[in-house]
Every structure is written in C-alpha cells, then in structure tokens.
C-alpha cells in the first residue's frame, strides 16, 4: 500500500492527551473524536490538515494513556501514516491492532521540513521525499506477526480468520 501526503511535524513525547484530550472521551464516535484530533498539540490542526496527510514525529509518539481513541481519532481524521523516531508501547500495539500504518525512522524528521510531500510504501518500508535529493529511506521492516495483523485488517479480523482456518 502506498501512502502519499503532505507532512505535519511534531516533536518528542506527543502524548495521548495531546492527540485526543480526555474531555472528549465520553464518546467513542470516530467523527466526534476526529474533530478534536491533536487539539492540545496544535489547536488549528484539523483546520489545516487534509485527508491523506502524514504525521512525522520525534521520540515516544503516543505516550501516556492506553486510549484507543487516539489512533481512532487519527485514522478518522484521515491521517494515512505516522512516521516517528519511536512510538510508546501501547500506542504501537493499538495502531497495529486497528490497522493504522506506522513506521519508525530515525532520520526522516531531520531530513524534511513541514509541508514537504513524502511517499511511503507500507509493504516494503521505503520512504521517498518528493523533490528531495538522494536515495529513498528504508525503514526497519515490520515484524512478521504485525504484517499478518495488517494483512488480515487488524487483530479481531486476524482472530476470526485463524478460527475459520482451524
């Protein structure tokens, strides 16, 4: 799968309260959650972004709460992919469990400026910076089990598929 979009840059330790503040957690409706996506990190984010855009972040993206509302909000907002230097553990699980493509790249953050377009091939793990010089970046391959999750469309579908095949 190819994700292509303009990038939004965020720093280190973007926590789940910044991605979707708790004051909106009295619902799990993706549309409502998406309307407040990234609100406490950048109040105008939803006005500025367009569907298909890509978030490029620093270390420990998604730290804090276990709320799946965070990847749900990002996915429903139309974020097609997140590339961070590293992800917090529960966010990492949640993203794969619900089929939101995420990648770890140590280099991309320093190589691009905000708004630059990048193209990500989620199957091969290559990132091409549009108009950028040099070779495409290759990111660490996704572990085979997670690839299975993505292929099946998330954890619940994966379990259902496994049940059927027994």
């Amino acid at each position: 799968m190819i994700s292509k979009g303009n990038t939004w840059k965020f720093g280190n330790n973007i926590d789940t309260d910044a991605i979707i503040p708790a004051r909106y957690l009295n619902t799990s409706d993706p549309k409502v959650l998406a309307a407040h996506c990234m609100e406490d990190a950048d109040p105008d984010f939803m006005k500025k972004m367009t569907r298909g855009d890509i978030i490029v972040a620093g270390e420990n993206f998604g730290c804090g709460s276990s709320r799946e509302h965070a990847p749900i909000a990002l996915k429903a907002a139309g974020i097609s992919c997140i590339i961070a230097k590293s992800f917090a553990r529960i966010f990492y699980r949640n993203a794969f469990n619900m089929g939101l493509p995420i990648f770890e790249s140590n280099d991309l953050w320093d190589l691009i400026s905000e708004g630059q377009e990048v193209e990500v091939d989620t199957d091969t793990g290559t990132i091409i910076i549009s108009g950028g010089a040099g070779e495409p970046l290759t990111v660490a391959p996704i572990p085979p089990f997670m690839q299975e999750l993505i292929r099946d469309g998330g954890l619940m579908k994966h379990i259902a598929a496994k049940k059927k095949s027994v």
Binding site: R23, N26, A88, R89, N94, N97, M98
Partner: protein, 419 residues
C-alpha cells in the same frame, strides 16, 4: 540462563518451557480489565467479531470509574451499554455506584488480582498490580476485546531493567518520590518496551501502598510493567483478600538484565514533577515560590488509606490557604469508610477540604476539579501533560500526599517542614 520474575510469569502462562526477551508469545490471561472509557469500544469490537459469550465470566472485570457518577448524557450512555453487557454475560466483577472505586486501587484491595497472575487492562496504569508480584500491563480496547473472546493476548517478551534501591528513606519521602526520581533520571521513555524490576534493601521499608505507587508509574517511564518480588509484606496483604490460589515467583540468581541501576535513596528528599512532563523533576528544596490554586489528593497513584493518613497528619489543626481548593478523593469505598472511621474526614473538613466520592474525576480532566486557563494544581496523580486536568493553559505539578497537603496550607508548593 535463568529467568527474571517477569519472564517466569509470562512463561507459566504459555506452553513454552523457557522464554527469552524478544520472543513473540500468546499467553493466557488471568484477569482482563476495562473501564467506562475503554470497555465500550471493546464490547463493540467483541460483537463485531461475532463474539457472543466471554471466555470466562469470572475473569473479565469492568470498573466504571472515570466519569462516574456519570457526568453527562454521553458518559451515562457508555455506562448503560456496559451494564447491559455485564448483566447479559453474567459477569462476576462489574463495579459501579456505591461499590465502585478507582480500578487500580479496587482490584488489589478486593483480591481480584493476585501474586503470580498475568493481567491485562485497557488502561495504561494496569501496571500497578506488579506491586503484588504479578505481570500486569496496559493494552488497548482491541486487545481487551480479543482477550474477552479468546482468553489470550499476544506479547513481545520484554527485556528487564533492574533498579536496586538502597538504604532507608528520609522523613516525608514515599514510594512516589522514589519513582519520580527514577523517571527524572531515565526520562519518560527510559524504559520503553521494558520490564522494570525493583529490588534492594529499601523494599523492606515500603508498604504495599508505596509499592503500588511505584509500579503504577512504570508506564510514565515507558515501561511495559513494573514488578516487585513478593515478600512477607505482600503475603500479609494478599492472604486476607485472596479467594483463589496465588503463586510467589522470584527472579533466578543468573537471570539476564538489560541494565542494572543502583540508587542510594538515603539522600533523597520529596520530589516534584514540573509541567508538562513527569520527568521534569526537582527536589522540594529547589522548587522556589510557586503559588497554587488547587491541591488534589487522590487517584490510583496516591488515593490509598496510607496516603490519606499522611495528608491528615499535616492538615490536622490547619486550614487550606484561602485561595486554594483542596480536593481529597479516597480511591475506593473501603478506603472511604476506613478514613471516616479513623476520624480523618473531621480533619479534612476542618481544613476546608472537599471530600469527593471515589472516582478518577479530575485526575484525567474528567470532572469534579477541572482547571481554568492559567490555574495551577499540585496533584498526587501520575501525569502532568498539557491539558491533563483541564484547560491546555493550566499547569499540573506532581508530588506525594505530604507535599500536596502542605502546599494546600501554604498556598504555594511547599514541603511539610516549611509549615
């Protein structure tokens, strides 16, 4: 090579004879927990996957603690959905209303989680139960849904970091200060993906409440779990609450660790985490003059009876400063009753405190103590992210209950010795 306590507990919940860090395993869970924020998504995922009956009605636990008593129509709807599901599934452990408390204080207290268990919870502070010598970790709603269906969860076996705490603690220093100090040293991702094992001769001075505060904040260092080796203090706590069997595990002498950190706690003073990240830690003597609008004593980190007793010790015959709202939240009904019996409520009311029912409340900016723009709160909670307790322009400082109580009296962040 030997195994750490974390590896042993994980291993005993699989078919494997031995496991190593990095392995991906499927393990059986003893308890799977959800709350009023995370369980509604899990229920809909469970149903979406064709689920009809949960794997074990004694092993799935719902605690409606975050926005309860329901703060608005939406949260009431979420709770209604869970209530109907729990009745339909005949779940043994469903908590709301007068039986409900903050989940991570409630489950150990009620003997629902025990030593040697493997516990997942759709709440990041599920790691609290490591205080009992259990493997406990936070997951998302989909993981909870999968466990409700299959009784299993996938894990990557974590490397273990060992923290060796040495020496007795100074007056007014508690488990909270030890973990704030560690997070200050290693950072909020210093233990990312890793198990944090706490050992050393300091452990024998730590109450179960202290150990729970420490394990609770393992996630604030990015850890997968925090864990203590069970001892006589653990036994005294678990023995009288357990309604099923439990197992004490310990690390083998030749177990492998990714790092070992020695910490001398004898010089440690009470710690305060400044906004907006739990690693932004200073000793109380370095804080300077920081005026506060609110002091919040409660949460799954520090809402236990031991915490309320410390607060009462400082608040006795004193009053909160005129411009400070002091909010005290006993974490469970049992703690609430005990505090009342011991006369702590008299002391709190005389100090002009507001006594809240057991709830997560303002800890996550839910309700009952929200901050306006520019307001400052000292809180015994575990997170001080931007907007955590209200307006994005408000500030949260984290401390132990003694400092939070003393600060309420002083009207600025202060240690008990400054009163």
């Amino acid at each position: 090579m030997g195994m750490t306590i974390t590896e042993k507990i994980l291993c005993r919940h699989t078919e494997h004879i031995e496991i190593q860090p990095g392995m991906l395993i499927n393990a059986k869970v003893d308890i799977a927990l959800g709350n009023d924020i995370t369980a509604p998504i899990a229920v809909s995922e469970f149903r979406g996957a064709g689920g009809t009956t949960i794997f074990d009605k004694e092993k799935v636990v719902f605690v409606l603690d975050h926005f309860t008593p329901n703060k608005d129509i939406s949260s009431a709807r979420q709770c209604k959905l869970l209530r109907e599901f729990a009745r339909q599934q005949d779940m043994k452990y469903f908590y709301e209303g007068g039986e409900c408390g903050v989940e991570h204080a409630l489950l150990p207290e009620q003997g629902i989680v025990l030593s040697g268990d493997l516990i997942i919870g759709a709440d990041s502070h599920t790691c609290t139960y490591g205080a009992l010598g259990a493997f406990a970790t936070g997951v998302g709603s989909t993981d909870l849904a999968a466990a409700m269906l299959t009784g299993e969860c996938w894990f990557r076996v974590p490397e273990t970091m060992k923290f060796v705490l040495n020496g007795p603690m100074n007056k007014w220093v508690s488990g909270k200060d030890l973990i704030l100090d560690i997070i200050g040293q290693i950072g909020v991702d210093g233990a990312r993906y890793k198990a944090m094992e706490f050992t050393g001769d300091t452990i024998k001075y730590l109450t179960m409440a202290d150990r729970m505060s420490i394990a609770n904040m393992a996630v604030e260092a990015g850890g997968k779990n925090g864990i203590f080796t069970p001892d006589d203090i653990t036994r005294a706590f678990v023995e009288k609450r357990a309604r099923r069997s439990y197992t004490f595990y310990e690390s083998d002498p030749d177990a492998g660790y990714s790092s070992v950190m020695e910490i001398d706690v004898t010089k440690l003073e009470p710690q305060v985490a400044f906004p907006h990240i739990p690693s932004n830690v200073k000793g109380i003597s370095q804080v300077g003059n920081i005026k506060i609008d609110q002091s919040y004593i409660g949460s799954c980190t520090n809402g236990r009876i031991e915490d309320l007793r410390v607060a009462a010790l400082i608040l006795k015959n004193r009053k909160a400063a005129p411009d400070v709202r002091l909010i005290i939240v006993p974490a469970t009904p049992e703690i609430y009753r005990q505090a009342m019996k011991e006369g702590l409520f008299e002391i709190f009311l005389d100090a002009n405190a507001i006594i809240s029912p057991p709830t997560c409340g303002a800890c996550l900016g839910g309700h009952m103590g929200i901050l306006a723009e520019g307001e400052r709160c000292i809180a015994t909670t575990n997170r001080n992210f931007v907007g955590r307790m209200g307006h994005p322009g408000s500030e949260v400082y984290l401390s132990n209950p003694a400092v939070a109580a003393a600060s309420a009296v002083a009207g600025r962040i202060a240690g008990p010795d400054e009163l």
